[in-house]
Structures are given as C-alpha cells and as structure tokens.
Symmetry: C3
Subunit: 336 residues, 3 copies
C-alpha cells in the first residue's frame, strides 16, 4: 500500500516497502515527539477519533500524535447511547462521521466492523482495533520497536532472535506481529507457551513458509537463553482447560530480575503490549525489572506515537512538508 | 434575531430575514467544509460543547464545525456525576461554565432546561436539543437542505411540494420544521401518517394559517406521488394504541427502491433526520436506496456542519472575516 | 517551589514567595481570560487532562485554561475500562501517558494516588484532586479570591477576618486552605460549625501556631458579624451523629439574603467551593443572594481559570513570553 488517501484496515495489506517507508517517516517524527522542535503541518485538519470501545491508552496515543502534527481531534468513547445502539448501520455511521473529519481512527468490539465501516466512509479509516480480529498499529509499533532496539544494540533485523512468550493462542498482538514478521525470512523465532496456549498452526505455518527458523516449546529457560528480543504477553488463568493445569503453569511464565539475570543474554530486550497486570496473582513482568536498560516497554509506547504520527502524515500526504511548518519549542520540556 | 452575541434557544425566535442571512453565510462555509481552503477565523476561541445527554452525531458535528473555523472545543458527555446531579441549579452550572468558554452548545434531557441554563450564562448559548422540546439546528439544517435540494433541481422554495411521512405526532424534528415552514406561504404540504400518529392540530393550524395548501391522509402512494421532497421519520411500534393497529401499518410506511421507482416523481428527494434504523423490524428507509441520487440523507448531515459553522460565525460576529484568516489546504482530501 | 519543570502535588510544598509569584502571573492572565486579547504561547503543547474520577467543572476549567494559552488538550474521564482497572500500576500508567503529553493534570478517587502516579511520570504532574486527600488548585484559587476580594474592598490580607462555616471536619477544601493560611500570621479566623463537624485539632493547632487569632464556636450570627470574608461549605446531614442532632442544626447554617442583611458587615464577601446544592433540603446558600455584590462564588470559579493558566505558564516556563505570542481578539465577546 502507498498509504496516501487509503484506509489502513489490516496488517495483511502492508508490504515490506511500505513498512520501510513508514518507519523512515516515523524517524522523522522523533524530534517533534521529543520536543526538540514542533511542526504544525496538519493545522486545520480534524481527526475523528471514534472509540466505540473504551481504551485510554490507544485513544490518547492517536489523539496526541495528531495534535503533535498540529491537527484537531474530535472524539467519542463507548458504544452505549450512540446511534449504532439505535440500529444504525456501520455504513450510515461512517457516511455521517466522514463528513465531520479528514481521517478517522475507529475502534469497535466486533471483528471486521472497522472494514464494514470503511466501506461507508468518504475519508481514510485506520483500524484502531476491531475486537478479537486486528490492531494493526500495535503490530507496526512492535516491529518498529524490534528494529530500533536491535539498532541500539548494533544489530539489524536479520540478526533477530525473538522469543514470543506466554499466551500465543489468543493474543491478537502476537498474531498481527506474525503477519508482519512473515514479510522477512531467515529469522530465529522461539514460541514458548503452555501447551494449552500454543500459537495456532496457521501462524506457525505462515512463519515457516517465510523461511524462519522456528522452535516451539514450553521451556521458559531455553526460550530465554537464545533471544535478543523477548516479547512477553499476558496469561489469563481462565484460559486453561482446568484449574490443575493453570496451577501447574502458575508463575512459570513470569519474568523478573532474577530470571532475567540468570537466563537471558546480557543485553536482551523485553517487550510487552501493555498494560502489564502488576497485581500479585498476575505479575507477568515484575516491577523489579523497571530499572533494567533492556526493559523496552515504555520505549515501545513512545514509539507508538512516532508510528501513528508517521501514519497520519503518510495517509494525509504531508510527510514531505514537515519542516516547512516547523518552529522552535518555547516551553520547558520534561521534568527539571 | 440578529445572532451576534445572542442565544439561539428556539426556532420560534427566528425570522425569515435571519434565516436567509444564516443560509447565505452557510454557503460561504462550503469551501472550508469541503477542504478547498481553510480559515482560522476563530483561532483562540473556545466552545463549551456541553452534552448532558449523550449524542455522538450532534456533538461531533458542532465540535467539528467549531474546529473548522479554527477554534478549540471543551466537552462533556452525560449527566451522571456532574454537579447537576449533586443538586446544582442550571443557573449555577451556566454561571460557572460560561466563565470557561466563548460560546456554549448545550444538550439536556429535560424540556426547557436549555433556556433556564441560558439565563445564567454570560456567553451565547445554542440549544443542542432539550429533550422532547426543541432541536433548532436540526430544523435549520433540514430547511437548508430543502432549499439546496430544490436549487439542485432548478427549483425554488415556492415550488416545494413536501411530504412529511411517518410519526408526525411525536417527532420534534417535524414540529420544529413546521415552525420554520410557517414563515413561508403558499407551499404544498402533505401530511401522511397512521391515524394514531397524526400531526397535532396546533401544527396543522400553524401551517394553514401561513397559507399553505395542506393535505392530510394515511395513503402512502398518494403522498409520494406529488412530492418533490419526501421527509421520512421513524415509526416506533410501541406508539400505536394497540398491537392490531401496529400490525395494520407494519411495513406500510417503509420506503424502498421499488416503492420509490413506482410511486415517486423522477427526481424526488428523500430526507430523514437520522439515525435510520436499519434493523429488519424497523427499516423505514431501505439500504437499497443508497445509490439513488435522490437520497439526500448524507448531504443533509453534511449541511449540518455548514449551518453550525454559519451559526457560530454569526453569533461570534466573524462572518465577514472568514477570508482574512484563510489559507491553503496542504493535505490529501478524501480517499484516493 | 519554583514550579518550572516540577510537579504540584500538595499545598504543603508551596511557600509564600511561590504563592506571590503565582498570583502575580495569574493577574497577567486576566486580559487573556477576559478576552481583551489572546496569547498562543503554548501553541503545540499538549495537556493530558486525566480525570480517573469524573468532574465536569474542574476538568473543563483546566482544559480551558490550557486552550486559552494556545495549547491542545487530550482527556480521559472515569476509571472503568481503563488499564488501571486491568491491574496496571499507577507507575506504568504514568510512564505511558507521560509519553503523550507535556504536562498532566490527574484526578483519581484514591488518596495519595497522584503522588504515586507522579513517581512514574516523565513530565510535570498537577494534582487535580486525589480523593479525600488534597485538591491544591482549589486552595490556591480560594486564597487568590480572598486576596482579590479584599483588594476590591481596599483592604489587604493582614486585614482578613475570615469565617469558615459549616462542615469543617470533612471538607478537604477547608483543610487545604488552612495549610495556605498558616503561611501568614496575625489573621482573624472564626471557625463556625456544628459540634459534630468541628475543624480537626491538627488544623486548629496549625492555625494557632501561625499566630492567627482563632475563635471556635457554633453561633452563626456571632461568626458572621465580624467577617469580611465568609467561606460557606456544604453540610451533609448524614454526617451528624444522630437524626436529633441533624434536626437541631437543620437550616441553622444556611445563608440567605435576610441573614446576610441582618448579621453581616455591609460589604461582606461570600465564598463557596461549589457546587452549591440548591435543592430545598440543602440550600446552604440561597439563590436570593444571587444579586448581592458580595456573592463572590462565580468570581471564584473565574479565578480558577486565572490560577490554572498561571500554573501552566509557570510549570512550562513561559510566563515571561505571554506578550510575545499575543494578538487581538477578533470575535464578539459575551452577550450583546
């Protein structure tokens, strides 16, 4: 895809060239996102940030990304009381809302709802998550983070040894990431999960067909020992087939400082789609890792802003005008 | 009314001259709303978009209209947990909120609440819908659409033959429109509804007194055959006096492609206040009409932005400064 | 504190010098807030207005203050469905959200939650109210109002004779105000409440230690007769030890025009943290006082905008650049 004037509905629509281009533009966004300077390239443009399912993090990330380019944001949060609840079709909702904005981000609890919505929209639509189906910008920011973290370690994507850890059966972020990874070949990928939560065969085949070197298992230590990038996910106990099985794995897939020090490569990077559940009965990624330089989870959310800014700039065709609308940042940046 | 520095609380306050002026300004807004150019005439101004009853469509329409003029929008959605729920009077709420913005749009579930609120406000208040009472900007955008659609057909308002269809008893949009129509005279108006849902006598008298030629009936085909504009509404079955009566009318007031082709004038325009209920048991306006050029329902919502932009520009007294704050649109407009 | 690049979490962190500086800047904000001119000094900056507990008034006040300085606002309202509800720590939430904005206002129902949040934030955090604990900007706007109202009467802070009235036991606004008042000395302070709702000893001692002249009692008339500033609060009947006691005080701490005329000094100023409960069974401040020049409750909320603008300008270090980004207001201001 070329992005300009187009929807972004699925990671399946994205080619390697278009990823490279998006990530090149995302790097151009860094000085604006880190407040070294600012750009008003989208001044006057309006984003319809339509979250028919609540999500503080993703909603604010998209909204801030648009503001950082100088545009305005109109929002909705939640499904109740909306016209959709009164029997309006997604086609109608899209026709109406696309008359109010230049680009729409839509999140909705039903799978494929965003594609249905896009058919009625007169402006580009970005899938902000359609239930169990896809969340393409999460996959893009994950891949962007993988490439950036490898670069930080002086490595490139072909040197990736990625361990996907935890619930690989239900996590849509992992599945979307697999789609993007299958655009590459010859990578090392370890799939470490409880037996009950293995990556579905379709995704394993997709990765194999791309020529990646796959290892599948449930041995955490072995999985950790080879990885330069570890992608941890949440395990929800109710997803095991029995309480006995849940009890068997309880705590087994948790990462903490001790495990990290003993079993991981020295500079190993830890990623997580967030939020991480820090309650005692979950705690899949312990707070004692917070000071580890390898913990990339907040660089990951920061990268979300870069990738979303880049996506807006590409879709709205202003990626080459950023510096034309540039000015100095005149306020105190960060804490003092 | 002259708009500038004034509230817009009721369609009853509006004269023919002020409508003409508003619609003249609404036409000036078209190039900005369609992104041929942009204006920042209200840069620095703040709209308080106070929706004490949820409404995605109307709320976003007002907010986008203000953004399209360069202003900022502060919002609230829903009544729960607000100070109103803690026993604060509308007078107090208005005093407080009017210290935070330059103009306020207010929606509230209680009839006449917006007028009560306006008494405490130190800035102009626009009624965004006060329960069963009024929704004046809906009536204005409906009339604007009628005039525009007639113009598209090479006709003017004196050639209007309007069929109001469906629930004419309870629909506040129809009642508000009747108020505006009674500013004209000599129009042809057909009132087609089930017996149980007839237009209340007060409105019929109002239209008669204005010198309009009224026909009242329940014969759909006859109503459709004479109209250049058809205004369809929702019929809620629970509003009939008995299940037998509901069953008798079931499906009778639905419009679809077949009925449209067989019974309407060739270029007949179809309007609807939206949302239309596209569920099978409702379906008052079938999706098979979506490709008909006469289906004006989305032009109607687009017109809402023009009319609301015009209203803000008139109330805030900037209608003659639009081009002074104008610049080029530098982004991709619409889909490619 | 010096504000710049710092959190504002508690009134306890504020010195007399920093209050004077903040109030000096707040006065600079008056021409912008009253629309005599406008400034775009924070154009391009983003406020994260994170209300994990609903509050229309405070939320919109902060948001408008930021807009009045030219900045953009991203918001959230309510705790449900947020990542916090999914077990995310406040540290994580802060790390993530601080990547999306230049400054954060946070409200949360739990005491000390905002301080915990601030530890994870990479940008300055302003406490927008952390449950029963603190609401520092309310205390600051209250003190600013006291000084301004005294100045209006040709008096200064050393001439203050303040009567705190009503529920002095539970009201966090009164407690925070006591902290700020204890930075001064030699003021006259009357604490008038039902016995069951007396100011806690710790606060009485704090005021005494500051060298203020304290009177404690439950005699409304005596309390009113000496005050140039009366600070009324809400009394919630369920807070009395028995129904008999509640009945005894019922109506006793209400202020109305008759009581005001008979018992107060001629120019006595009435303040209230708002919302006031105007229902018959509450009515602690009667609507018949609305036309009294001494009723300062809406000047008080207006002052909230000035103080919050000043706080943003100080924290973001732009207080000396306001006029550099100044321009004329080109729209109709207020009602006509």
């Amino acid at each position: 895809m070329t992005y300009r004037g187009q929807h972004l509905l699925s990671v399946k629509d994205i080619s390697l060239e278009s990823i490279d281009e998006l990530f090149r533009v995302a790097e151009l966004m860094r000085p604006y996102a880190t407040r070294q300077k600012m750009t008003r390239v989208l001044q006057g443009a309006v984003l319809g940030n339509m979250f028919f399912e609540p999500s503080t993090r993703t909603r604010v990330s998209f909204g801030s990304a648009f503001n950082l380019l100088g545009g305005e944001v109109r929002e909705t949060t939640g499904l109740s009381n909306s016209a959709l609840a009164k029997g309006e079709s997604l086609y109608d909702t899209a026709q109406v809302l696309s008359g109010y904005s230049d680009v729409i981000v839509m999140r909705h609890p039903a799978a494929h709802s965003v594609s249905e919505f896009a058919e009625g929209s007169r402006v580009p639509v970005i899938n902000g998550g359609d239930g169990p189906n896809e969340h393409p910008t999460q996959a893009l920011l994950d891949l962007f983070t993988i490439k950036n973290e490898l670069a930080r370690l002086g490595q490139n994507i072909q040197q990736l040894s990625l361990t996907l850890l935890g619930d690989l059966k239900y996590g849509r972020t992992v599945h979307s990431l697999c789609h993007l990874l299958s655009l590459y070949h010859g990578l090392k990928i370890q799939l470490i999960s409880p037996d009950a939560l293995k990556l579905p065969t379709a995704y394993v085949d997709m990765l194999s067909n791309a020529g990646h070197q796959i290892e599948i298992g449930s041995d955490l230590e072995k999985g950790l020992s080879q990885a330069n990038i570890i992608y941890q996910t949440r395990i929800q106990e109710e997803r095991f087939s029995s309480e006995e099985e849940a009890a068997r794995y309880k705590g087994y897939f948790r990462l903490n400082k001790k495990i990290y020090s003993e079993h991981c490569l020295p500079d190993a990077v830890i990623m997580h789609p967030l939020p991480r559940d820090s309650r005692n009965n979950a705690n899949e990624l312990d707070n004692d890792l917070n000071e580890e330089p390898g913990l990339a989870i907040f660089r990951q959310t920061d990268n979300g802003v870069l990738v979303r800014m880049a996506l807006f700039a590409c879709i709205l065709g202003v990626k080459d005008q950023l510096s034309k609308y540039e000015s100095e940042v005149n306020w105190q940046v960060g804490l003092k």
